[in-house]
Symmetry: C2
Subunit: 227 residues, 2 copies
Amino acid sequence: MFAACLVKRLSLYRRVLGALASPEGWAGGLGSSDGEYVFSHDLASLAGVSAAQVRRDVMTIGYTGSPRRGYDVAGLIGRIGEFLDAPGGQSAVLVGLGHLGKAVLAYVGGRRTGLRIVAGFDVDPAKCGRVIHGCRCHGMEALAEVIAEHGANVGLVAVPGAEAQNVSIQLVRAGVRGLLNFAPVRLQVPEYVFVEDVDITVSLESVAFFARHDAVRRQAMIKEAVR
Amino acid sequence: MFAACLVKRLSLYRRVLGALASPEGWAGGLGSSDGEYVFSHDLASLAGVSAAQVRRDVMTIGYTGSPRRGYDVAGLIGRIGEFLDAPGGQSAVLVGLGHLGKAVLAYVGGRRTGLRIVAGFDVDPAKCGRVIHGCRCHGMEALAEVIAEHGANVGLVAVPGAEAQNVSIQLVRAGVRGLLNFAPVRLQVPEYVFVEDVDITVSLESVAFFARHDAVRRQAMIKEAVR
């Protein structure tokens, strides 16, 4: 039984560890890691959690480090992968090939992970049949068939807000059980579907707002927020 | 004194309202809105909050609706803009012009908002002097000068994890006061800097993980998470 936050932390640890293990090394000045081994407190500091949390999480997935040298970086990356990734890889589809959809295709397609975006969909006939960033694009009428063919169970929703609910229902009917939603609405889907919202515009607008307000006011705002 | 969550909700309301007011209308079946007026409970349902929350938030920014017709959509969009946006527009810079950075440029550049990405930066000399998605790109050595020239106070960090901390410090030294961080590390910056993390990979990996686990297990996981 694993909590969503554990899964996210493990995903983050893996990315941090990947950077540590990369040939370019770590430019941020992580003194005590040699790229082969890392201490829980160093991994914790890079991931923004406590060292105790890191140790607990690593224990949960059945990995152990050495008190003297810390965790073996490659070994821990491997163990996280065994826990997080589908053994034979996993397929996702993306709906909505506007600016954002294409951007996500380029970004996700550029990373080598166990999860692959196998098809894109759009209502615009001009986009059907094209290959965008290595991904074959189809009209919406092919959705159910293509999802079944690839056994895709993950859907990325990058359509305008007004269409997102409708598209999500179509994805769920076709067998999708996890949705990454970039549209600016909260989706209403059956309980057995996992939804995660990513709203770049909302995040950017809040950064812009608070960048204009000085530290004193911001402190008061934070107080307000935690009240 | 405004909480970060209020700012995010207002940004989300504006996007939902924008979709309601668009010529294509709302395909999701929002019966009681005619595109000109919307009731607090309809806006609430689309934004995934309670109607009482919507009414409180709208009252906070000094706007009122009519009990019979609801809120005037265009009027509320306008009032949210007065609250959220800098009167003369606001400038941001983006560091890191890899897949993700270019994707973000395309996406944010394609939206017409008060916030504009005025410059991009990268360590790769091949990218300097180029215009990518309408945005002029420079080497890192020009960072402080370009930021000062535009009075930019927002920075988007799209560099690899190992470089994000170093880049953030450079941005803050040059006058940036809000950071949107796409890199997979938690940034350590002075208290007066506002940081928001967006991690598409972590979100996608957690969606993929939970898409593979059935409803029964997921319920148990959620219980675990809220314990």
